[in-house]
């Protein structure tokens, strides 16, 4: 009996060990390029490890049972007449409940750190559009009282393109240029059907719903060019509805901005 539980503990620790090893050494995610990304990847890692432990454990149990309890040739007897076991049932109700609760609370914490739980002020002063309701996308934790950051850009989504309007410069661009390490607020509106604004490297996504202007905040942390992808089926050219976000350092951004700025003319 002692021997048996020794093996059981050994096997469980091997499974947990393998899962941790895979969880820490296999990267399934793209580059991290915003404040949100490392937070997201932390959650992903935890979920990945827990998932691996459960999956490897269950698969091992099924395959082990298939080999261990195979019926032998010409055998017609029955297995043990076991109908249930209350303590086992309690164990596998309680342990998953605890795991699920832990995951739920942990992801709530992650979500809070991403700024998802902040209520946005409707009718915000800098982006007041005739007292219409502005819907909150997932926002950024810093500067928590105000939903809007320093750089405000208006995004129009239409079949099948994104247009980026820089109100301070009164110009429209087909590419989204933003300065690095600065909180960006975009106000998104759709001209026709539902679109979605997704930057995989930033781990953010928000549907752009016609009739519901939505604010999305993010802070890029890495200079580079990343895709902006429409993730909601919007018509025949949905797959081609892509744009780019170019994250530059502040001086490059200002040079680009001044080149396009129409208020200076």
């Amino acid at each position: 009996m002692l021997n048996k539980s020794y093996y059981l503990i050994l096997i469980i620790s091997i499974i947990i060990g393998i899962s941790f090893w895979i969880g820490f050494n296999v990267n399934l995610l793209p580059e991290e390029a915003s404040i949100n990304a490392p937070i997201y990847d932390e959650l992903f890692k935890i979920l990945f490890i827990i998932g691996l432990i459960l999956f490897i454990g269950m698969t091992a149990l099924v395959i082990y049972s298939l080999f261990k309890f195979r019926k032998k040739e010409g055998e017609f007897g029955d297995g043990i007449a076991l109908e249930g076991n209350l303590s086992l049932e309690i164990i596998w109700t309680v342990i998953p409940s605890i795991i699920v609760l832990f995951v739920g609370i942990y992801s709530y914490n992650i979500y809070d750190r991403m700024g998802g739980m902040n209520e946005l002020n409707h009718n915000h002063e800098t982006m007041n559009t005739n007292s219409e309701k502005i819907w909150a996308g997932i926002s950024q934790a810093n500067n928590s009282n105000s939903g809007l950051g320093e750089t405000a850009i208006e995004v129009s989504a239409m079949q099948f393109a994104f247009l980026f309007n820089y109100p301070q410069g009164e110009f429209i661009s087909g590419e989204l240029h933003v300065p690095v390490d600065q909180k960006i607020s975009i106000k998104m509106e759709s001209k026709d059907v539902i679109h979605a604004f997704w930057i995989p490297e930033f781990r953010i996504k928000q549907d752009i719903i016609p009739g519901q202007p939505t604010i999305l905040n993010f802070t890029p942390t890495k200079i580079g060019k990343y895709p902006i992808i429409c993730a909601e089926l919007c018509g025949p050219y949905h797959g081609g509805m892509r744009a780019s976000i170019i994250v530059e350092d502040k001086s490059d951004y200002e040079r680009w901005f001044n080149q396009n700025n129409k208020t200076n003319l």
Binding site: E83, P96, K205, P236
Partner: protein
């Protein structure tokens, strides 16, 4: 009075066509209707599978070069609609439910045989109508979710026919649901207590409750949507002051329970199949019953997890995260109980058992990604990407379809009287299992790294992984060949099954293949 009814029924029976033709008649026999559902569903599965192949061929290259773009959207819409409404829902509910439930509860037939026949005969015409819509002005092209305003602005005829077809199929589903509830609750043979019902009856009871509660909501929503399309009302049209998010709430109020409508009966079927091939009673009957009912209740309050990126308020995101994640608990109980059923058994590793084990492994994987998807911050990145596509194919294909095949291998001898060829069954399983995992496992990575779903063109960096996925789809397509050969050849040339093909010792197994009935081993009598 009863005699009178019986005479009438006898008269009707004598007017029914005999032999093969009865499958093409308005038959009132639950066994005939069950087979009608199964064969009809399988034919639509072949259509849906062909459409899936077209999608995978398109995605071999990163450019949109195989199908015209609007046709591609029609193909993915029809693929989703056909696979859900014409294959999985009718087969796991209608086919096995009609065939097995009267046997299991000890009734002569379903409670409302005519309603039953009507429910079946709504399916072929609405399915054909759906496919035919392609030849008018093109089929619907707004996905199986038909989100407005896209569904309002795309060509009308296809969308309207889609709505009509789904309404008819929904009606069929409701008729079936009512019939199952009444049959299970009212037509049990005397002395058969609820807590002695075979597990599949419980699963069907739970499923039917979901069908009856949620399908009418879908029907109402689609009728409003059709008003928006035809009469230019503004329920969901933002240009006329409508709100598109309301549509999403109403749609998912049905369509999330729809997942359980596809999966709960599969759970029930597995609970019938495992004990026989493991030669052990089902482990933890009572908790299995409660977990089914737990899934039914929770399944009704999780719909908004499909809308985490649609501008839902934070408190709603939180509530739906927790409710969704908690479904993992009753679902997990079922899986642990199945493994415990296998533990210490005398397992015959035949095709039915292999498909059931494949189901357990695939579904555990899909369930784990499901718990991850329930977490708002996780979902926000992968929502509407191939990660979600992979997740729900693990649930509905790796789950439900594997169980359908398992059930076909298990009950074919009962229905046809002949055994299926086991070697072809092994081949079918190997091709399906390898093909399925090759096709869908890589899609998780695609979604995490930036490939949205429902696209005909994609970033060239994803080409290699998409080709692996398409190779898996090819395996899956090929896997139907040994299955079909097996089914057709065995009708004529199969070994005679006899009354007890799975060598069950229990008299009940010999008679009607009922398995998880607790009387099997309720008092520990199974081994005596």
């Amino acid at each position: 009075m009863t005699i009178l009814i019986d005479n009438k029924a006898k008269l009707k029976e004598s007017l029914q066509p005999k032999g093969f033709l009865r499958y093409f008649s308005f038959s009132l026999d639950h066994k005939v209707i069950g087979i009608q559902y199964l064969v009809c569903g399988f034919l639509f599965y072949l259509v849906g599978g062909t459409l899936a192949s077209a999608i995978r061929i398109e995605l071999i290259s990163p450019l949109s070069d195989f199908l015209p773009r609007d046709v591609y959207n029609q193909v993915l819409t029809l693929h989703g609609t056909i696979m859900i409404f014409l294959w999985i829902v009718p087969v796991v509910n209608g086919a096995f439910g009609n065939y097995l439930i009267p046997f299991y509860v000890g009734a002569r037939d379903m409670a409302f045989p005519r309603l039953n026949a009507v429910a079946f005969w709504l399916i072929p015409p609405s399915g054909l109508m759906l496919i035919a819509s392609y030849f008018i002005e093109g089929a619907a092209q707004s996905g199986w979710t038909a989100y407005p305003p896209l569904s309002i602005t795309t060509p009308q005829s296809g969308q309207i026919i889609w709505i009509l077809s789904v309404l008819l199929l929904g009606g069929s589903s409701i008729f079936g649901g009512i019939n199952f509830i009444v049959t299970i609750l009212k037509l049990r043979r005397p002395g058969l207590k609820l807590m002695n019902l075979p597990m599949y009856c419980w699963a069907m009871l739970g499923t039917s409750i979901l069908v009856v509660l949620s399908t009418p909501v879908l029907a109402g929503t689609l009728i409003l949507l059709s008003f928006d399309i035809v009469a230019h009302t503004g329920f969901f049209n933002p240009a006329l002051g409508g709100n598109v998010v309301v549509y999403q709430h109403l749609f998912w109020f049905y369509s999330h329970p729809a997942v359980y409508i596809m999966v709960l009966p599969a759970f029930g079927l597995v609970s019938e199949i495992l004990p026989i091939h493991c030669r052990k009673p089902l482990f933890g009957y009572t908790t299995m019953v409660f977990s089914i009912m737990g899934i039914v209740v929770l399944g009704l309050v999780v719909w908004a997890h499909h809308m985490f990126t649609s501008g839902t308020p934070p408190w709603m995101r939180l509530f739906f995260t927790i409710a969704t994640a908690f479904i993992a608990v009753p679902t997990g109980i079922k899986f642990f109980n199945w493994v415990a059923t296998m533990w210490g058994g005398k397992i015959s590793l035949n095709s039915a058992m292999l498909f059931s084990c494949g189901f357990i492994i695939n579904f555990v994987f899909g369930g784990i990604t499901g718990v991850a998807l329930a977490q708002v911050p996780f979902d926000i990145h992968v929502h509407d990407t191939y990660f979600v596509v992979a997740h729900f194919h693990y649930i509905v294909y790796g789950g439900s379809v594997f169980v359908i095949f398992s059930s076909i291998y298990h009950w074919y001898p009962k229905v046809v009287g002949k055994l299926l060829n086991e070697n072809l069954g092994y081949l079918h399983f190997a091709l399906t299992f390898i093909g399925f995992n090759l096709c869908f496992a890589p899609q998780h990575w695609l979604g995490l790294n930036g490939m949205p779903r429902r696209v005909a063109e994609y970033d060239p960096q994803f080409q290699f992984v998409n080709q692996i996925s398409s190779l898996g789809a090819l395996f899956m397509a090929i896997s139907t060949i040994p299955f079909l050969i097996n089914i057709i050849i065995s009708i004529k040339k199969g070994e005679i099954a006899g009354n007890n093909p799975w060598k069950g010792l229990n008299p009940r197994m010999v008679n009607d293949f009922s398995s998880s009935c607790r009387k099997l081993g309720r008092r520990g009598s199974i081994s005596k």
